[in-house]
């Protein structure tokens, strides 16, 4: 099977800092991948490279086996949707028009049944009740859900036969627990229809219950890739997250359940109050 998106040994350097160091990764159709790692591990940088917003200094990103840079931006936009961590919108658009922006790459053809797609996308994230509202009057969580609806519209507007991917940078930010679950479930449903989904997450247990595979990054390097149980180990918790944690099988779904017990700072950056 060809990977939808593949990073081959990508390195990103900003000044003296190496943000990513020879990272290899392949994302396949229909799979759900969570990217984990502490703050500054290079997660967002990695995502930016996958979207083509940043070009790595070394290595190359491939979409459908062809270098990302060789694909026209418009074609990619029909097949690949992205939710950024801090999405903004500087003017006060009505909610349906924000969602309809996802249909722009699909051209005038998609505008014909735009309203149907807009409504069904809003419905999928439980935000149809926001249809008559304006962007500035939404709470942070509501904005996040409308943004998610926009990316759903972007993917739904296109053909199902081409490879498609959804890339999410902390899609659960600002969301109540119920919408965190729902957002990931929506992404999961897209995956079951063949969309490759990659999400940066912070909640370890949420990641473990949702993802097929986890990519664990630390200081710009890949620490581990694999199923949640293989990645979320006591040892990785300690060395990567500086966390003394117990990992148990979850009583409900049986996946890894991370229960942090205390911090275990390395000597170099010990917390001043816990010598």
């Amino acid at each position: 099977m060809t990977a939808v998106l593949e990073a081959r040994s990508i390195t990103v350097q900003r000044g003296a800092r190496r943000l990513l160091d020879a990272v290899d990764f392949a994302l396949y159709p229909g799979e759900r991948v969570a990217v984990l790692g502490p703050n500054g591990a290079g997660k967002t940088t990695f995502l930016r490279c996958l979207t083509g917003a940043w070009t790595p200094e070394e290595g190359e990103i491939y979409w459908d086996g062809k270098p990302l840079s060789e694909w026209p931006a418009r074609t990619l936009a029909r097949r690949r949707a992205v939710v950024r961590q801090n999405g903004t919108l500087d003017f006060d658009f009505p909610v349906p028009e924000v969602v309809a922006m996802g249909l722009v790459p699909h051209g005038p053809k998609a505008q014909a049944d735009a309203d149907d797609i807009v409504r069904s996308s809003l419905q999928k994230v439980g935000a149809l009740n926001l249809y008559d509202r304006r962007w500035s009057r939404l709470s942070g969580g509501e904005q996040q859900r409308v943004t998610l609806a926009r990316t759903i519209a972007q993917l739904e507007g296109g053909s199902e036969s081409a490879s498609r991917a959804l890339l999410l940078d902390e899609p659960t930010n600002h969301l109540d627990p119920v919408w965190q679950l729902e957002a990931l479930s929506v992404a999961g449903k897209l995956a079951s229809r063949g969309v490759a989904v990659l999400a940066i997450l912070h909640d370890l247990t949420l990641a473990s219950s949702w993802a097929d595979r986890i990519l664990l990054l630390h200081e710009g390097r890949t620490v581990s890739v694999g199923p949640p149980e293989a990645v979320l180990t006591d040892e990785n918790m300690r060395s990567v997250f500086q966390l003394e944690a117990t990992v148990l099988p979850h009583p409900v779904h049986g996946r890894a359940w991370v229960i942090p017990t205390r911090a275990c700072f390395k000597d170099s950056n010990r917390h001043p109050e816990n010598p």
Binding site: T51, A73, L89, D90, F91, M101, V104, R119, Y131, E182
Partner: protein
């Protein structure tokens, strides 16, 4: 998936939109009728229609009108009104473009130095070029050509400096614009310092703005520039919406951000540079009109662009009619009038926005 369904009647803003374009068109026709009718020689709407009918060959529809009225209308009033329409539309739509580029409702073409560059170049032509250059056969075109080149040159410099790694960077563009505006202002000050009395007078007159230069040739030139701007704006209307999501999201939605931004600056410079070249600096239209129109139809460019063009054109015709009739037979400087009206109006808008926020 839990669904909170709600019946969604068409929101008031949508029904409003349906009527605004019709209302704006009527407003525009009214502006043209008023602008061509009022003046030292009054021309009633029925006389206007009669002259129109006669000049397009429908003599049977032509009722009685004074031949002098026909001459005044065709040679003086109409070119001036059409010029007002074109310049108003041009400045307003350029304002829409700059506000989309900077993702800020306070941006205007002046911000990237277009007007400043035109003013400085015009100042050089007025104060430094020998009189023979501007009095020959093509003399009347030297000043507009200089102003246009000045506008283009300065915006190219702004664009060049406001780059970061090959992509126009909004903050750098803004800061470069501020610095360049200060520089052109100082340059103009220097020219004022060296100019003699006559030159000083024409410098001042030029910087205050006027539609007094209107002839059909000027109208033709500006029709080309304004059409270019309107065509570009309409073609890219959906991309402008996406730019407001930020560069990265616009990129993710397939917009070639860097190319589009460069073209926005260049097209604005060409169009506004041409307008400023013939009319001098007419302030606040590019800032206030998009604002006003956004209040009426929301920020979506599909609706904002045509409405801004219509409203901007109409308002400028009304302002110019006021400028040439309020203190007749003298003429108020148009740029002063638009700023006198526009600035307080803008302050009211700001205060209202604060109240609703």
């Amino acid at each position: 998936m839990s669904v909170v369904s709600s019946p969604t009647p068409s929101s008031p803003i949508r029904s409003l939109r349906r009527y605004t374009r019709i209302l704006a068109s009527l407003f525009c026709l009214l502006a043209i009728a008023v602008g061509t009718g009022i003046g030292a020689l009054g021309i009633s709407p029925s006389a206007q229609l009669s002259i129109l009918a006669e000049s397009i060959g429908l003599d049977s529809f032509a009722t009685y009108h004074d031949p002098i009225q026909a001459t005044v209308l065709k040679a003086i009033r109409l070119p001036r009104v059409v010029l007002g329409l074109l310049v108003g539309a041009c400045l307003s739509v350029a304002g829409v473009l700059m506000q989309a580029l900077f993702r800020n409702p306070l941006a205007s073409p002046q911000l990237i130095g277009v007007s400043g560059g035109a003013a400085l170049a015009a100042g050089v032509v007025i104060a430094l070029l020998p009189g023979e250059v501007t009095s020959g056969t093509y003399g009347a075109w030297v000043l507009p050509a200089g102003a246009f080149l000045g506008a283009l040159a300065v915006s190219l410099i702004t664009l060049r400096v406001g780059h970061r790694g090959g992509t126009p960077d909004v903050v750098s563009l803004l800061l470069a614009g501020v610095a360049i505006n200060a520089l052109t202002g100082a340059g103009l000050g220097l020219l004022v310092f060296v100019a003699d009395d006559a030159q000083l007078r024409s410098l001042t007159f030029w910087s205050l703005g006027s539609l007094g230069s209107a002839t059909w040739t000027v109208v033709g030139t500006l029709a080309v520039a304004t059409s270019l701007l309107l065509f570009f704006a309409w073609r890219n209307r959906l991309s402008f919406d996406l730019l407001l999501l930020g560069h990265e999201d616009a990129h993710h939605l397939g917009v070639p951000v860097a190319t589009l931004q460069r073209r926005m600056v260049l097209v604005t410079a060409v169009a506004v540079g041409s307008a400023v070249a013939f009319t001098g600096i007419i302030g606040f239209v590019g800032l206030v009109v998009p604002h006003l129109c956004r209040l009426l139809v929301g920020p979506t460019h599909q609706h904002l662009i045509p409405l801004s063009a219509l409203v901007g054109g109409s308002l400028l015709i009304f302002a110019d009619t006021g400028a040439r009739t309020i203190v007749a037979p003298a003429e108020l400087p148009l740029g002063v009038l638009t700023t006198l009206l526009g600035a307080p109006f803008f302050l009211v808008l700001l205060a209202r926005a604060r109240k609703f926020a």
